[in-house]
Subunit: 217 residues, 2 copies
DNA sequence: CTTTTAAAAGTGGTCATACCACTTTTGGAG
DNA sequence: CTCCAAAAGTGGTATGACCACTTTTAAAAG
C-alpha cells in the first residue's frame, strides 16, 4: 500500500478523540492549539485535517469562536468542484441532474422496502401538507434521502442540495402541492412508477417557474 | 452573502491562473512558494487551497517533485468521509450501493439517448471482449460513466470507484463475460431493462466471488 | 444585589521562517 | 558519452508571531 497522507491519519485520530470524548453534534471541539499538543503534531497539520473536514461539511468553524461538530452539514465541496472544473452553464445542469438521480434512486429503494414505506414520517408529512402548514421543499426531499438509509448518498445529496440554491428553500405552493401529496402517498403504498413520476413532475414544475422567495437566511 | 472563505477565493484565482497559463492535464503547476508570491498570500494559504483541490482529486502532489493537474483523478474524499462518519461495515455497503446507483442511472440515460447509444466506444468494447483481450472491469464501467456526459456524476463515481478497491481492477473472467457482452449490446440497442439487469447480474457475480487479482499498482 | 461595560483571555486566520525528506537538475569525473 | 554525486528545487511539517473576532471575566455603575 502507498504511504498514507498525513492529514488522513490526523482525521482518523480526530475521529477517535471525538468518540472517546463523547463529543456530539453541535459541541465544541478542543482548540487547534490544544489538538496540536494532544496529537503531538504542529498546528498547521491539524488545520489541514480540519480544513478537509470542513470542506466535507463535517465540522463548522467560527472565527474567534471555535470549531464545532456540524449539525446541518454546510460544505464547500461542490462549490470548489464547480468553480474549478466547470466553466459553462452545464455545471448547474450537472448538479441538478445528479441531485435528481439520487432522489429517484432513493424513491425506488423506499418503494421496494416495506419497513421504509411504513415509516411514520410519511404520515407526518402528509398531515403537515394537508393542514396547509408551510413546508419547505428541501425538507420533504431530505426526509426521503434520510429514509433510504445510505449515509454516504445522504452526504452527497446534502452537498448537492446546498448548491442547488434558493428554490429548494422555498415553501411548497398550492400549485405544486398535488405533486408532493401524490409522491408521499405513492411512497407509502410502494407504487414505484407513480412516485417517480410525481417526483419528476414536481421538480419539473419548480424549474419551469422561477421562484424567488426563500425561507431563512 | 456571507464573506467567502479565503481558500475558496484562492481556488478561483488558481483556476484563472491555470487557464491563462494554458496548463493542461498532467502539467506541473508553479511551486507553492511561487504561487504564494504571485497571488500575494502566504504559503500556508496556498497550501490550504491546494489541499482542497487534492481532496477532490483535481491535482496530485508528489513530495519533492511538484504539484500537477490530475490526469486520472485520485480522490481522498470518500476515504475521509468513510473514516470519519462511518464506523461499521455499513460504510462498504454504502459506497457500493452508491456506486451502483450512479452506474444504473448512467445506463438509463444512455439507453434513452440515441446519440449516446451510437458512440463508437461500445463497438470497440464489444470487439475487445470478443477477441479475448484482457479487459479491466473498471474500464467498462468508466466508459459508461463518461458516455452519459455528467462531469459531476463522473467525478463522484471515480471517487467511489477508487474506494471500491481491488475487485474493480481485476480482469473480466470468462464466467462473467456474458453479462458484460449482454450489457454492452443492450446499451447499443437501447434495451433499458435488459441492460440494467445484465449490469446487476454482473456486479452480483463479482461480489459473490472474492477476486484477489488486480492489474496495476 | 443586578446590570452594564470594558478589559482580558481564548480561538481561528494568516504570514514568515526554518528545517526536513524527497525529487529533479546540474555538472564534473571517469 | 555515461555515470554519479553535489546542488537546487519542491512539498511536508513545526514553530512563533500577529491579527480579527468571540467569549469570558471582572470591575464599575446603577
Amino acid at each position: 500500500m502507498e504511504p498514507k497522507k498525513r492529514f488522513i491519519e490526523i482525521v482518523q485520530q480526530l475521529r477517535t478523540l471525538i468518540r472517546e470524548e463523547q463529543i456530539k453534534e453541535g459541541d465544541k471541539l478542543p482548540s487547534e492549539r490544544v489538538l496540536s499538543e494532544r496529537l503531538q503534531v504542529g498546528r498547521s497539520a491539524v488545520r489541514e485535517a480540519l480544513r478537509s473536514l470542513e470542506l466535507l461539511g463535517l465540522i463548522e468553524t467560527k472565527h474567534g469562536g471555535g470549531t464545532f461538530l456540524s449539525t446541518s452539514p454546510q460544505h464547500k465541496l461542490i462549490e470548489v468542484l464547480a468553480t474549478f472544473i466547470m466553466n459553462d452553464k452545464k455545471s448547474i445542469t450537472d448538479v441538478h441532474a445528479t441531485r435528481l438521480l439520487h432522489e429517484q434512486e432513493a424513491i425506488r429503494v423506499i418503494c421496494r422496502n416495506e419497513k421504509m414505506r411504513q415509516l411514520p414520517v410519511w404520515e407526518s408529512l402528509f398531515i403537515r401538507l394537508e393542514v396547509k402548514e408551510n413546508v419547505v421543499r428541501k425538507d420533504v426531499l431530505r426526509e426521503i434521502m434520510i429514509a433510504c438509509d445510505n449515509r454516504l448518498a445522504l452526504r452527497i445529496w446534502l452537498q448537492l442540495e446546498a448548491y442547488s440554491g434558493k428554490p429548494m428553500y422555498g415553501f411548497i405552493t398550492v400549485q405544486e402541492k398535488p405533486y408532493v401529496l401524490t409522491l408521499v402517498k405513492a411512497l407509502q403504498l410502494g407504487l414505484e412508477q407513480e412516485a417517480l413520476q410525481a417526483h419528476l413532475a414536481w421538480v419539473h414544475h419548480n424549474t419551469e417557474k422561477g421562484d424567488k422567495e426563500h425561507g431563512d437566511s
